[in-house]
């Protein structure tokens, strides 16, 4: 298993390098000049030239790339043109927020989506199935910002149960941190729960029809054992795929949700950086997100091997 993961990490290195090349050069194609953005109203050519020299923007592109990637390999992702903070520090501030939001949203999605999918597959064609499908469809169709605002109106303003916005670092006060994060996580999680429910349902439908589920019933097992032990465990592979992909997406940040609940996460950082032509920040974030995605994929592959013995000796 360890050698498998090691091999997958080695294979991932060229992928990450390729992504870094893409990110770097695509961004240079964007219209706009970071120096102009930085200099603001003052268009004094000398200052512009000074800034260009300072941030080595006059070097040939490939030199700029190698300087950047060389530093990145040493853990230095550069300095934000805008705030003059090291990019790594910026990411380090936002990452825990985003991870907490992602984990909480995912837990909510799994807790709602997987059981709903199982029940609706098991009771296919009954009113339970219809109800679950209608809820799932609404979950997918209702925009996050609308649901977010409605929740704030109801839960915070009317009922006063949860804070409407803000962020409390988890380590400072875990309970308060979870309380502030609960609504945004719920808004994100319900949308994902719908996706997860649909995938769980279709995977379970396939497995419940299979011969070995009939075998399990013929053995005289209880329905719970049949559904959980024989059916669900075999349906887990597609579910794991969806969960890891969703988690990767969540790590990239949820701009709208963060905006509504004023959570200082990744989403806001990246949007600001793009508008300000803050190259170093955009590059750093995209690189981090890409690595997170690849890590989730490796995790998914490793989980497949745990879940499915047939994938072990390939």
């Amino acid at each position: 298993m360890l050698s498998f993961i090691g091999r997958r990490i080695l294979i991932a290195i060229p992928t990450v390098l390729l992504i870094s090349v893409f990110v770097f050069f695509m961004q240079k194609l964007l219209p706009g000049d970071p120096v102009l953005a930085l200099a603001g109203e003052d268009r004094n050519p000398e200052i512009l030239e000074f800034l260009r020299e300072k941030y080595r923007l006059n070097d040939p592109l490939y030199v700029q790339y190698f300087t950047w990637i060389g530093n990145a390999l040493q853990g230095d992702l550069g300095i934000s043109l805008r705030t003059q903070q090291p990019v790594l520090t910026l990411i380090g501030q936002k990452l825990p927020v985003t991870i907490q939001l992602a984990v909480m949203a995912l837990i909510i999605a799994i807790v709602i989506g997987v059981p709903a999918g199982i029940v609706s597959a098991y009771r296919k064609g009954t009113w339970v199935d219809w109800l679950a499908n209608i809820l799932a469809l609404s979950g997918l169709s209702v925009p996050n910002f609308w649901l977010g605002i409605m929740l704030i109106l109801l839960v915070s303003v009317k009922l006063g149960w949860l804070p409407a916005s803000g962020y409390q670092p988890f380590l400072d006060d875990p309970l308060q941190s979870i309380r502030t994060m609960l609504m945004p996580a719920f808004v994100l999680g319900t949308g994902l729960a719908a996706t997860l429910m649909r995938h769980t349902r279709s995977a379970m439908l396939g497995v419940l029809k299979s011969d070995y589920v009939r075998t399990a019933r013929a053995k005289g097992l209880s329905e719970t054992t049949v559904v959980v032990k024989h059916a669900l465990r075999n349906a887990l592979v597609p579910i794991v795929t969806v969960v890891t992909l969703l988690f990767g997406e969540l790590l990239a940040g949820a701009v709208l949700t963060e905006q509504i609940f004023t959570i200082p996460g990744f989403g806001k950082l990246v949007v600001d950086a793009v508008f300000n032509r803050d190259y170093a920040v955009v590059q750093g974030i995209v690189l981090c997100t890409a690595i997170a995605f690849i890590a989730m994929n490796i995790l998914a592959d490793a989980l497949y091997r745990v879940l499915n013995p047939r994938m072990r000796n390939s």
Binding site: S210, Y212, R214, G220, L221, S222
Partner: protein, 361 residues
Amino acid sequence: MTRNDIILEARGLKRRFVTHKPLFGKPTEVRAVDGVDLQVRRGETLAIVGESGCGKSTLARLLVRLIEPSGGTVHYEGREIGALGDAAMRGLRRDLQFIFQDPFASLNPRMTVGALIEEPLRAHGIGDAAARRDQAAQMLTRVGLSPRHADRYPHEFSGGQRQRIGIARALACGPKVVIGDEPVSALDVSIQAQVVNLLEDLKQEFELTLIVIAHDLSVIRHMADRVAVMYLGQLVEIARTEDLFRAPRHPYTEALLAAIPLPQYGARKVKVSIEGDPPDPIAPPPGCRFHTRCPYAIAACQTDRPALRDLEPGHSVACLRAEELDLTGTADAERSHNPATERRFRLYREARHEELQSTPT
């Protein structure tokens, strides 16, 4: 035959499946099993034969309540199993086991072979963990596999080996009745003989009652004590195997027997053949269901539904003209028996015998 001899009995068993359900109007239904009365005697091997789609697998599943009947009842040891609650039914599954047709799909790919065989034991609370492991190892040995196979996964085995695992699983909890739904049809011919012999040996050893669903008549002839012939969801003939093969009383049985390939050119004197596919079971023909394909059909066959009746003790048939027809069986019984097949079965039996004697138990 006393009541006590009957271990499993179906009375007026029916099962309909909805094939198409329009938004408005009546749903279309298939009557897969349409009023079957069947008595299975303790310790016998009963074969149920028929074309694809005649309802024999459905009948098998109804007999152990893997699906619920639309009508009629099944009685096991005099108890109506349809009336049992979930828990009681699960308990009864210890006595009624099933061997499935497809050895590739019927084993959970996520579980080791040992876990698969032990599971019914655990479900029925038989023995402790160590005893169950022993029992699984013993069953594996008994079906010709090795105890060390217990830690492997189903995908690591061949079709024949998997069917042996399926058999070991079915027999592990000590059932009284075992139903095999085409237990060998998915296997190579060379493997079929092994598995058939294994089933026979195990039947002797564990004093089982065996119900075998099949469409391969040569396998049936080899195994079964009695044969029930099914056509479009109904039984058309039940008889002892020799009687049925020697002197069938239903034209459909005759046609089935005529379809057994004979190894010699010109070996068959009379050519009986039925043409076309069976009628649509959604709209079965009136009268005798076989009349559309029957070479002996008369006008009455189109209107009168023949009931299954005893023609002589132990030989029932559902045909209006049963008395007057002189049907051809495989009169020289040996003729239908391929000598090569016979030799294969014999050689294998001898080999097994030696193997059993050389391995200390």
